[in-house]
C-alpha cells in the first residue's frame, strides 16, 4: 500500500507562502456585494417611512417618526439586506466588512437633526 501520499502536497506547502493571514494585522478586502454589516448611510434623507423596520425578519430596526430616530439592534440583525433593498430613499447600505464583537448590548441610534429654517444663515 502506498505510504507518504501526502508528501508532495507537504513539500509544495512548505515551498510557497502560507495560505493563512495574521488576521487582525492583515485584513483581506471583502468581495463586492458581500454582506458584512448594515450601516445607516445618510440619516439626512430618511423620510421615516418605517418600511425597513416592517420588512426586517428579526425586528432589529425601529423607526420613530415623531422623534426622527432610526434605531438598530445589531445583535438582532441577521444581515439579510432586505431593508437595504426596500429603502425608497437609499439611506441604508451593506458594507462588506463585518461588524466587530460587542462587549455590552447596545442599540445604535441615529437622529435626524432638525432641518434648518430657510431664513437661517448657513
Amino acid at each position: 500500500m502506498p505510504h507518504l501520499v501526502i508528501a508532495k502536497l507537504l513539500t509544495k506547502s512548505a515551498a510557497r507562502k502560507p495560505s493563512t493571514r495574521l488576521y487582525p494585522a492583515e485584513k483581506r478586502a471583502p468581495p463586492k456585494g458581500a454582506r458584512g454589516r448594515l450601516v445607516m448611510k445618510q440619516i439626512e434623507t430618511c423620510v421615516f417611512c418605517g418600511v425597513c423596520g416592517k420588512k426586517c425578519p428579526t425586528r432589529a430596526i425601529a423607526v420613530k417618526r415623531t422623534d426622527k430616530t432610526w434605531e438598530l439592534d445589531r445583535l438582532k440583525c441577521i444581515v439579510c439586506g432586505e431593508c437595504v433593498e426596500i429603502c425608497p430613499k437609499d439611506c441604508l447600505a451593506m458594507e462588506g466588512e463585518h461588524a466587530t464583537a460587542f462587549v455590552a448590548k447596545k442599540i445604535e441610534t441615529h437622529v435626524q437633526k432638525p432641518k434648518p429654517a430657510a431664513s437661517d444663515p448657513t
Binding site: H3, L4, I6, A7, L10, S13, A14, R16, P18, S19, T20, R21, L22
Partner: protein, 285 residues
C-alpha cells in the same frame, strides 16, 4: 568526574531550553507543511509560562505527586546519560518515569485518563524491547554499557548497527508522541481520549509535563547522537535531521491503533534489531 558533573549541569539547564526551542521549531515547521503561518518560535515557552500562572485543579492528593515523580525520574534518567553513566540505568529510569505518569493518570477518576494510562503501558510494552535491544547492540558493538566509553570509543555505532538504528527511529516516534503512534496523548486534544493520559492535569502540573517532555526529547535525541558519537558534530546534525524527519512523519500519517503500534514495534525489534545483533555477534567475534 569533572566532565560528568558538567554534563549533569548542562543537562539540567540547557536541555529544557533546547527542547523548548525544538518544540517551537516543530510547530513552525508543522504549520508550514500545512500551509499555515504558525506561532512564533518561543510559543512553547509562552504556553508553559501561561500554564504556570494558571490555577491548578487537582482531583486528589497523589496526582501531583506522581507528576513530580515523573519529572524527577526523567531528570534522573537524563542526568545518568549526560554524566556518561550506564545505558541500562538510563532506560530503567525512563521506564520508571513512564510508570509514574501512568499511575498519576490512574489515580484520577476520568475514564479518558484511565484508557490513556492503559495505552501508555501498552506503548511501553511496545517500545521497551527495541530500546533494550539498542542498549545490548551498543554493548556488543562498543563493548560497554557506559555512555562515556561508547562516546569516546570512536566506533561508528551506526554503521555496525543500522538495523537497530532504524528500529530505534520507529520507537522514537512513539516516545516523541508523534503520529502515527500518538496513542496515549497527542499534541492536540482532538482524539477519542480528549487529551488521554494528561486529561486531568492542569496549571503547573501540566506545565511540568510539558517541560518534562522537552527534557525527554533531548534525552532521546542524545540516544540518536550516541549512534554517531564517533564524529560529535555529525551526531548533532543527525539528531536534528531525525527530529525533522519525525515532524514530517507526524504530518504524513493518520493515528494508528494500539494493536498496530505494538505489532509494528515488536516486528521492528524482532527483524531489524535481532537480525542486526546476530550479524554483529557473528562478525565481531
Amino acid at each position: 568526574m569533572k566532565t560528568a558533573l558538567l554534563g549533569v549541569v548542562l543537562w539540567l539547564i540547557a536541555a529544557p531550553l533546547v527542547g523548548g526551542l525544538l518544540a517551537g521549531a516543530d510547530r513552525i515547521l508543522s504549520a508550514r507543511l500545512q500551509g499555515r503561518v504558525g506561532p512564533p518560535l518561543l510559543q512553547p515557552f509562552y504556553d508553559a509560562l501561561k500554564l504556570w500562572d494558571k490555577r491548578g485543579g487537582v482531583v486528589n492528593r497523589f496526582q501531583n505527586f506522581y507528576m513530580v515523580a515523573f519529572f524527577a525520574f526523567v531528570l534522573a534518567s537524563g542526568a545518568i546519560f549526560f554524566a556518561g553513566g550506564d545505558l541500562l540505568l538510563v532506560i530503567f529510569a525512563l521506564t520508571l518515569a513512564g510508570v509514574m505518569l501512568a499511575l498519576g493518570a490512574w489515580s484520577t477518576h476520568s475514564p479518558y485518563s484511565h484508557v490513556g494510562a492503559e495505552r501508555e503501558i501498552l506503548q511501553m510494552m511496545a517500545y521497551e524491547p527495541m530500546l533494550l535491544l539498542a542498549a545490548v547492540g551498543m554493548y556488543l558493538a562498543g563493548r560497554s554499557f557506559h555512555v562515556n566509553a561508547l562516546a569516546s570509543s570512536g566506533i561508528p555505532l551506526v554503521l555496525q548497527l543500522p538495523g537497530v538504528f532504524l528500529g530505534f527511529l520507529l520507537i522514537l516516534t512513539i516516545k516523541l508522541r508523534k503520529s502515527p503512534f500518538d496513542l496515549s496523548a497527542s499534541h492536540h486534544a482532538h482524539q477519542e481520549l480528549v487529551r488521554g493520559i494528561t486529561t486531568e492535569y492542569s496549571g503547573r502540573s501540566l506545565a511540568l509535563f510539558e517541560i518534562a517532555h522537552w527534557y525527554e526529547n533531548v534525552l532521546l535525541l542524545g540516544f540518536v547522537w550516541l549512534f554517531f558519537a564517533f564524529n560529535p558534530a555529525l551526531g548533532v546534525a543527525a539528531a536534528l535531521a531525525v527530529y525533522f524527519l519525525e515532524v514530517v512523519v507526524d504530518n504524513a500519517y493518520a493515528r494508528l491503533t494500539w494493536k498496530v503500534t505494538v505489532r509494528a514495534a515488536w516486528i521492528a525489534a524482532a527483524i531489524l534489531g535481532a537480525t542486526n545483533l546476530a550479524v554483529v555477534k557473528l562478525l565481531l567475534r
